[in-house]
Amino acid sequence: MGLVTATTDRVTIRNFAEFASLIGAIAASGFRRFWTYRQATVAALATNTMFGFLRTYVMLAMAALTPVVAGYTGPQLAAYVWTGQGLLGVVMLWGYADLADRIRSGDVVTDLLRPIHPVLNYLAVDLGRAAHGMIFRFLPPVAVGVIVFDMYLPQDLSTYPLFAISVLLAVIVCFACRYLVNASAFWLLDHRGVVMVWLFVSGLFGGLYFPIRFLPQWAALLIWLGTPGPSMLQAPMDIFVERDPFRVQLAIVGVQVFWAVLMLWACHVVQRRAERKMVIQGG
């Protein structure tokens, strides 16, 4: 496989500044790209906010029965919902088809003609998009949650940087999962079936429909450790609502690091196989 897969330059201390500038420039392009679609951002924001209300009332109805549900108080559940609604647009759980579209159109061949690893290229664009999402998709729904509901805000200052790190890792894990879903188009061309499965599984295991902690402990643990789902959405939400002590929060970030590394490696392997397919079979 090594014979047909070209490698990009290794990042060393000497060229790190150049590398960082490259990633920064590509990420900035991702930010600008989404900045151009302001009406779409407003429409998505309105939808997220509307569903935020629906989900908050359901959660609060549960909280009315018992003061603490699976370790969350009412205000924590409200925070869970609103940060979740905001993070949906940051991690971009759904609606990503950049790579699949390029595979179908054949434009993906130009990705191979650039001296940059395609996974790194797409990741850098996604980081820029996530930065746009953090400002325009995350902050407004959280502000609505704070204004309208008795919503929990982190009490410990150390939670904020930890939350930022966790969001970054969540974006990386979610990107890697989306990339793999898209990359299935290298073999299937029409990857809509895979997307349908992804729509259901990502929302469920990501903790969007309900917190994974609502499940029996063994099932929750299995999902946390055995799937990347919670690492791409629930992890930063749990850190934000300070459900767990600091050392558990750190462990959650540790699990995210594990999944980020594993999933990026999976993307690298799949990309190599896809390139091999394209390069040998002319796919």
Binding site: R32, R33, V109, T110, L113, R114, P115, G282
Partner: protein, 314 residues
């Protein structure tokens, strides 16, 4: 110095054909079947062939995005597939039906991104971009998102994008496809000027033979995966005995039985006679004697004719 060397270059594809209700049979098809190619620095080579002849497949193998099934190939001293990333810094590629620009961003942003991706020093980038802006008239749409550009504008953007890192070889796969006359002329003029400087080697595949006539001294014609001609356009005309045409219009209907060596009467319709000739001089002196000549024109041999004869014969 040779920048491209290919010997016995082959690419086979496995296709499955129906051989019953369920059964499929595998068949191996050679898209490129033993191509030899040696291209010197600064050459402008037209790579021609009918649809499905293997032109794009060859280009993909030369640029490192397709693995040859056999043969040897070196481009800029690299073996294209395993050294694709190193090679990518030394070549520029324009696929007429693919885009390398960022769809949602202004054209200028795409150029800036490419500067970072190819790690081109800012001053060098600015110099090349200024030249392209002048020659390709880009200023009017530098801030327009790529998705809003016309095909002609986009193609001018694609050409610029392929040249900003100063490639030694420019691969152009049907760069004028779908363009209007004005845009075609702009692209051809730009490429001609680039070629005159002599430091960029260009390989051009196209179905538009006017591109070839305007730009390329040397043409390589491929059919069924094999090279059927490699030489100048004149050599191709000589090979197929392409001849100039003399069209003579008389004041009155005329019958003639002019017999000269290398002259053949192609058609005679009333007042118009059309001859295919090797040499024009002797015929003209004869024509002035046989009647009252009203008009006379000489048409150079058409490259379309000779190429279509070549395709048909191969």
């Amino acid at each position: 110095m040779k920048v491209i060397e290919a010997r016995g270059l082959r690419k086979e594809f496995v296709v499955r054909v129906k051989a019953g209700a369920i059964r499929r049979q595998k068949r191996v098809v050679a898209a490129v079947d033993g191509v030899d190619l040696a291209i010197e620095r600064g050459e402008m080579v037209g790579y021609l062939g009918p649809n499905g002849a293997g032109k794009s497949t060859t280009l993909k193998m030369l640029t490192g995005v397709l693995m040859p099934s056999g043969g040897d190939v070196r481009v800029c001293g690299f073996t294209p597939v395993p050294q694709r990333v190193k090679l990518a810094r030394r070549i520029g590629v324009v696929f007429g039906q693919r885009s390398q620009l960022w769809w949602d961003l202004p054209l200028g942003d795409s150029f800036d991104l490419l500067r970072h991706i190819y790690r081109v020093p800012a001053a060098e980038h600015a110099l090349r971009l200024d030249r392209c802006r002048d020659l390709l008239d880009l200023d009017a749409f530098m801030q327009t998102p790529v998705r809003q550009l016309s095909l002609g504008q986009r193609m001018r953007g694609e050409l610029t994008a392929a040249l900003l890192h100063g490639p030694e070889i420019l691969f152009l796969d049907e760069p004028t496809i779908g363009l209007d006359v004005v845009s075609k002329q702009a692209v051809r003029g730009f490429l001609a000027e680039l070629g005159e400087k002599g430091d960029t080697t260009m390989i051009l595949t196209t179905h538009d033979l006017a591109d070839i006539e305007r730009l390329c001294q040397r043409i390589v014609v491929i059919d069924h995966g094999r090279v059927v001609h490699d030489g100048t356009i004149q050599a191709l005309h000589d090979r197929y005995r392409s001849r100039r045409r003399v069209i003579a219009d008389f004041d009155e209907p005329i019958q003639t039985d002019i017999r000269l060596p290398g002259v053949e009467l192609e058609s005679s319709t009333g007042t118009r006679l059309i001859f295919a000739v090797d040499e024009v001089g002797p015929l003209i002196s004869q024509l002035t004697q046989i009647g009252s000549l009203r008009d006379l024109s000489i048409a150079e041999p058409e490259i379309e004719d000779v190429i279509s004869r070549l395709y048909l014969s191969s």
